[in-house]
């Protein structure tokens, strides 16, 4: 992956995919929400999973990070099946990815620095000042170094999401999964977060898998999107968001991108 490339589309075809979802069927509370879908994510791209409410976006994400077991199919992360991997191997795979949850999921009783430092304390033998320096670097990257002594409850929602990203990337994962990063944020904070994601993807070659339905964010960050449709429980569209908006043959997809009300 060349550093600082502006678009991954041209290089993508020459690369091996970093994540492969193969014929996955997923059920949530007994009912099938995703039926036999396949797609691939390539290194360094910002890959966005789209869909209306209840289309199974978050469910799909939770399958990709190994929290849920699919009913059928395989999910390969860096060529290793996260579904069938043995316990230890699975832990290794999970440590190679980072996840930032919708509400941040920062530990409320720890300061931001302690939150970010936690994976280092558990997984490495670094001396304390090394852990602090690395944690400060990650917090500085998301613009929160000055808030390292604050508790999550003392900072705003946007800051919490940024801190969650810092925590997710403290072990330098190759892949970051973000669940609705801009939901509930004001447009400026949301745009700043988009910049952060783009910066990390372009400068650090981190692959992003993002679940969102915030249109401005999608246009700003997405290299490629897939759209899930709860009517068919399938992927109904794949491609660049601008192209789908202007050229999709599916009226629902065009409606989605143009924020139109569906006409019965």
């Amino acid at each position: 992956m060349p550093w600082g490339c502006n678009s991954v589309n041209d290089t993508r075809t020459r690369q091996e995919p970093i994540i492969q979802v193969q014929r996955v069927t997923a059920a949530y509370q007994g009912s099938v929400v995703i039926d036999d879908i396949s797609f691939e994510v390539y290194p360094g791209e910002v890959f966005v999973i789209l869909g209306g409410s209840g289309s199974g976006k978050s469910t799909l994400l939770k399958h990709m990070i190994g929290l849920y077991q699919p009913v059928g199919g395989r999910i390969l992360i860096q060529d290793e099946d996260i579904v069938t991997a043995e316990r230890e191997r699975r832990t290794t795979i999970l440590k190679s990815i980072g996840v930032a949850y919708q509400m941040g999921a920062l530990f409320g009783s720890m300061t931001l620095l302690e939150n970010v430092r936690l994976p280092l304390e558990e997984d490495t033998d670094l001396p304390p000042d090394a852990m602090n320096l690395i944690s400060r670097m990650k917090l500085k990257l998301v613009g929160l170094e000055a808030f390292m002594d604050y508790l999550p409850s003392e900072i705003s929602g946007g800051m919490q999401k940024r801190a969650a990203i810092a925590r997710a990337m403290v072990l330098d994962p190759k892949i970051l999964f973000l669940d609705e990063p801009s939901a509930g944020l004001d447009p400026i904070t949301s745009a700043e977060l988009d910049q952060l994601i783009l910066g990390l993807a372009r400068n650090l070659a981190i692959t992003f898998v993002v679940v969102t339905h915030e249109l401005p964010s999608i246009y700003a960050i997405a290299d490629r999107v897939i759209m899930l449709d709860k009517r068919f429980k399938k992927i109904v569209a794949t491609g660049r968001p601008q192209e789908l908006r202007d050229h999709s043959t599916d009226p629902w997809v065009r409606q989605f991108f143009n924020r139109e009300v569906s006409v019965p």
Binding site: D125, P127, I134, L204
Partner: protein, 382 residues
């Protein structure tokens, strides 16, 4: 550039010190990541402290991989030199890693000034604690006032009370507590009787064990253990439930809907607890007496003697006095549980703190109320 052999090799370094001991050359090789730099970090620190070089030359041409942790290691060396007035030159670091150093290397040597204040002196701590207690007393008085007014209004307009909630709470705090109340009451009666029977036997006064069990259970122990179990079981549950509602902004939602949290949430719980505590105390008394009976039977006394002895020893005022105390305990425990729930701040640990505080404050208040009752009953000659 990294050789093929060094790609998967763990990070390591070799050092070379110039003849004048001013220049330290550090040859870094292999992977510099979070798993391998821990050892390097310690070794390098040791070497730097020993040799105190003026100039450091880092040869990074054999570094095969470098992530945030590797960059932090290099930055740390730079910072060490900056602090001691020396300098660092880096050679041969691959472009992609150099770029990473550019991104992460902007970090200042010292962390930004923390917001944590200096630790307080003992005098200040005592002052803070005293102020906290005073504020707590004020809050408690305000809450008691608000609860009293709301309860009086509820008495005038019973339709204002959410009876469905009150019934549900009565079942959870009352009926569901019966097994544990019965068990503890029985064990307490059993133990009291057994412990007192041994010394009393020396005076041939074993039959007076019945007096002791009767008076102590009915006047004191029955209501007291009921209240303590209520504090542990239901006071904590009220605090956790209301605390979670506070964290999830449900209390704010009630307020903005014009529904007072005290009327909507506290009154049904207090009413349920007040109604159920005397009943639970009756069961605690009963099972305490049964526990005593078991011991007395095993000592060879017929059941009828035990019962007659108790009937002659305790009066109705002993029973009613105890039950009235339990009623007040019920108000205190439910009230403080709800108050602590409503006082919950934000965050997951806040609910835990409220719950702990509800149980601790509940037990402290039970002890205070018990003391007040002892004095009042004594003054009244009861």
């Amino acid at each position: 550039m990294a050789t093929a052999a060094s790609v998967h090799q763990a990070g390591s370094f070799e050092t070379r010190i110039s003849n004048d001991r001013a220049t330290l050359t550090l040859l870094l090789t292999g992977r510099l990541d979070a798993n391998t730099t821990g050892r390097l970090w310690r070794e390098a620190q040791h070497i730097f402290e020993q040799s105190k070089p003026i100039r450091v030359v880092i040869d990074a041409s054999e570094v095969s991989y470098c992530d945030g942790a590797g960059v932090a290691f290099i930055v740390k060396l730079q910072q060490y030199q900056a602090r001691t007035g020396g300098d660092v030159t880096i050679h041969g670091l691959q472009e992609e890693f150099r770029r990473l150093l550019g991104i992460y290397g902007q970090i200042s040597i010292d962390p930004p000034p923390g917001r944590r204040r200096e630790p307080l002196s003992v005098v200040e701590q005592v002052g803070h604690a005293a102020l906290g207690v005073w504020q707590d007393v004020q809050t408690l008085l305000t809450f008691v006032g608000e609860l009293t007014v709301t309860l009086l209004r509820a008495a005038r307009h019973p339709r204002l009370v959410r009876w469905s909630d009150a019934w549900l709470t009565a079942e959870r705090a009352g009926v569901d507590a019966l097994p544990i109340i019965a068990l503890i009451g029985f064990l307490l009666g059993l133990i009291l009787a057994f412990q007192s029977a041994i010394p009393m036997r020396r005076f041939g006064a074993e039959i007076f064990v019945a007096n002791l069990i009767g008076v102590s259970m009915l006047r004191e122990m029955g209501p007291l253990i009921t209240a303590i179990i209520l504090a542990g079981r239901s006071g904590s549950a009220f605090a956790a439930e209301l605390g979670t509602m506070k964290v999830r902004e449900e209390i704010d939602a009630l307020t903005t809907m014009g529904l007072e949290p005290v009327r909507f949430l506290v009154v049904p719980r207090v009413l349920a607890a007040v109604t159920m505590t005397p009943f639970l105390a009756v069961f605690a008394n009963l099972f305490g007496l049964i526990g005593g009976a078991v011991v007395m039977r095993s000592l060879g006394f017929p059941l009828v003697s035990y019962v007659n002895q108790i009937v002659s020893a305790v009066t109705v005022s002993d029973l009613l006095g105890g039950l009235f105390k339990s009623l007040v305990y019920g108000i205190v425990v439910a009230g403080i549980g709800c108050l602590r729930g409503l006082q919950t701040t934000t965050g997951a640990s806040a609910v835990g703190q409220s719950t702990t505080s509800a149980v601790v404050s509940g037990i402290v208040l039970i002890a205070i109320v018990d003391g007040v009752f002892a004095v009042v009953y004594y003054a009244l000659g009861l």
